[in-house]
C-alpha cells in the first residue's frame, strides 16, 4: 500500500518537474487536480492548507511537494516527492547549460526566452484560481485576497511579513468569534 503511494508520488511529481516553468506556481493547478481529483490522496481543503504552509515556509515554492509527500506517506514520502520534483528539471538544466554556453545569441534562444512567458503566465493564474476554489469563498476571504494583492502589487512589503501579519489577524478574528 505504502509502496503504491511512493510510486504514485513519483508518477505525479516527476512529469510536473519538467513542466515547472517559472517555478512551483505554474504547476499548482495540476498538482491540485492530480492529488485531489485523480489520486484522491487529499481533500481540497487539505490541499489549500498545505499550499498555505508552503507559502509561509522558507525556500522555493516547489517544496510543497515535500509537504504533500509527508502528508500522504510520511518521511519517505517527503524525500521521494522532493527528489521527484527536483531531479527531472535538474537534468534539463544540466543539458541546457551546456547547450546555452555553446550558442551565444541565436534566434532560437530569444524565441525560448519570449515564447515560454505567455504559457507560464496562463498556468500561474490557473494555479491561483485552483487555490481560491479549494478554500472557503466568503466575503472575508475575498477582502483578504484583494487587500493582500494590492499591497504586494503596489508596495515593496515583504510577502513573508504579509503572511505573518495575515496569520496573526486571522488568529485574532478567530478569538473574537469569526
Amino acid at each position: 500500500m505504502d509502496d503504491n503511494r511512493l510510486l504514485g508520488l513519483i508518477l505525479v511529481f516527476a512529469p510536473l518537474s519538467i513542466l515547472s516553468f517559472g517555478g512551483g506556481q505554474a504547476i499548482i493547478a495540476d498538482m491540485q487536480h492530480q492529488t485531489v481529483d485523480v489520486w484522491g490522496w487529499l481533500s481540497a481543503n487539505q490541499f489549500s492548507d498545505l499550499f498555505a504552509i508552503s507559502r509561509a515556509a522558507p525556500g522555493p515554492s516547489t517544496l510543497i511537494a515535500a509537504l504533500i509527500g509527508y502528508q500522504i506517506a510520511g518521511i519517505w514520502g517527503s524525500i521521494i516527492a522532493t527528489l521527484a520534483i527536483y531531479i527531472p528539471s535538474s537534468i534539463v538544466v544540466y543539458y541546457a547549460t551546456s547547450w546555452w554556453q555553446n550558442h551565444p545569441d541565436s534566434r532560437l534562444k530569444r524565441s525560448f526566452e519570449r515564447g515560454l512567458g505567455p504559457v507560464a503566465i496562463g498556468l500561474l493564474f490557473a494555479g491561483a484560481l485552483a487555490i481560491i476554489e479549494s478554500g472557503p469563498i466568503t466575503l472575508l476571504m475575498l477582502v483578504n485576497l484583494a487587500l493582500c494583492t494590492a499591497i504586494l502589487y503596489f508596495t515593496k512589503f515583504s510577502p513573508y511579513k504579509l503572511v505573518g501579519t495575515v496569520a496573526l489577524v486571522f488568529l485574532g478574528l478567530n478569538l473574537v468569534g469569526f
Binding site: 518537474s17 513542466l19 515547472s20 512551483g24 506556481q25 504547476i27 499548482i28 495540476d30 489549500s48 492548507d49 498555505a52 504552509i53 508552503s54 507559502r55 515556509a57 522558507p58 525556500g59 522555493p60 517544496l63 515535500a66 509537504l67 509527508y70 527536483y86 528539471s89 535538474s90 534539463v92 544540466y94 547549460t97 554556453q101 534566434r107 530569444r110 525560448f112 515564447g115 515560454l116 512567458g117 505567455p118 504559457v119 507560464a120 496562463g122 498556468l123 493564474f125 490557473a126 484560481l129 487555490i131 478554500g135 476571504m141 483578504n144 485576497l145 493582500c148 494583492t149 499591497i151 504586494l152 502589487y153 510577502p159 513573508y160 504579509l162 503572511v163 486571522f170 478574528l173 469569526f178
Partner: protein, 203 residues
C-alpha cells in the same frame, strides 16, 4: 580572502579568465548550506552572487548573469536552478549535486517540521481558518507576481490569446496540464520565432 590562499593553482579552464578559483566540494557544501539557511525570506540570489562571485571567485559576473537568465527560463525552482548552475560551473556534476543539496536541505527540514505541526494542530478548527487566510496571502503573491510578469510580455494578440487559452484550459476547464502545454509551448515558441526582431537585423 582569496589572496591569502596565494599559490594554489586553479585547474586550467579554457573558457574562464585565469584568476578564477576552484572550490573544494566541502567549500561548496558549506557555502550553499549558508545560503540555504540565510535565504529564508527569498533573498537567495544576492547571497549566491556574494558567495560565488564576490567573496570567492568561482565564476565571472558575466557567467553568473547568464546563469540567472537560464535559471528563469528553464523548468524548476529558480534559486535551485541557479545553485545547480553555479555548482556545475565550479566543480562539474558532483559540485552541482552538492550545491542543490545545500540549497534545499535547510528549507526541507523546516517544511517537514511545519508539516508535522500541521498534523498535530489540524484537530483545532482555528488551524484551518488561519491557514485559509494565509492561503489568501499566498494566492495574492501569485497574482501580484503574475501581474508584474504580464506587463513584461510582448504586447500582441498572439501572446494574449496563448496566455488566456492556457488559463481557461487548465484553470477553468480542468484539462490536464501535460496535453495543454504540449500544444501551447510549440505554438508560443513559433509565434515568438515569427515575430523575432533580431532576425531582421541578421542575428
Amino acid at each position: 580572502m582569496s589572496a591569502t590562499k596565494g599559490q594554489s593553482q586553479p585547474e586550467p579552464d579554457h573558457h574562464a579568465p585565469p584568476q578564477l578559483e576552484t572550490p573544494s566540494l566541502w567549500q561548496l557544501m558549506m557555502a550553499f548550506l549558508k545560503i540555504g539557511v540565510t535565504s529564508f525570506g527569498g533573498a537567495s540570489r544576492p547571497m549566491m552572487h556574494r558567495e560565488s562571485v564576490e567573496a570567492n571567485k568561482w565564476l565571472s559576473d558575466r557567467d553568473f548573469i547568464a546563469g540567472f537568465a537560464l535559471a528563469q527560463v528553464l523548468p524548476g525552482a529558480n534559486p535551485v536552478n541557479l545553485a545547480l548552475y553555479v555548482g556545475l560551473r565550479a566543480r562539474g556534476v558532483p559540485g552541482a549535486a552538492i550545491a542543490v543539496l545545500g540549497m534545499v536541505l535547510p528549507a526541507f527540514c523546516v517544511i517537514l517540521l511545519m508539516g508535522y505541526a500541521y498534523r498535530e494542530l489540524i484537530a483545532y478548527p482555528a488551524t484551518h481558518f488561519v491557514l485559509a487566510g494565509v492561503a489568501g496571502a499566498g494566492v495574492a503573491a501569485t497574482l501580484a507576481t503574475g501581474a508584474k510578469m504580464a506587463t513584461k510580455l510582448d504586447r500582441n494578440w498572439m501572446t494574449a490569446i496563448i496566455a488566456l487559452a492556457v488559463f481557461i484550459a487548465v484553470g477553468v476547464l480542468h484539462i490536464s496540464m501535460t496535453p495543454v502545454v504540449i500544444v501551447a509551448i510549440p505554438a508560443s515558441l513559433a509565434a515568438a520565432w515569427v515575430t523575432d526582431k533580431g532576425a531582421r537585423d541578421g542575428r
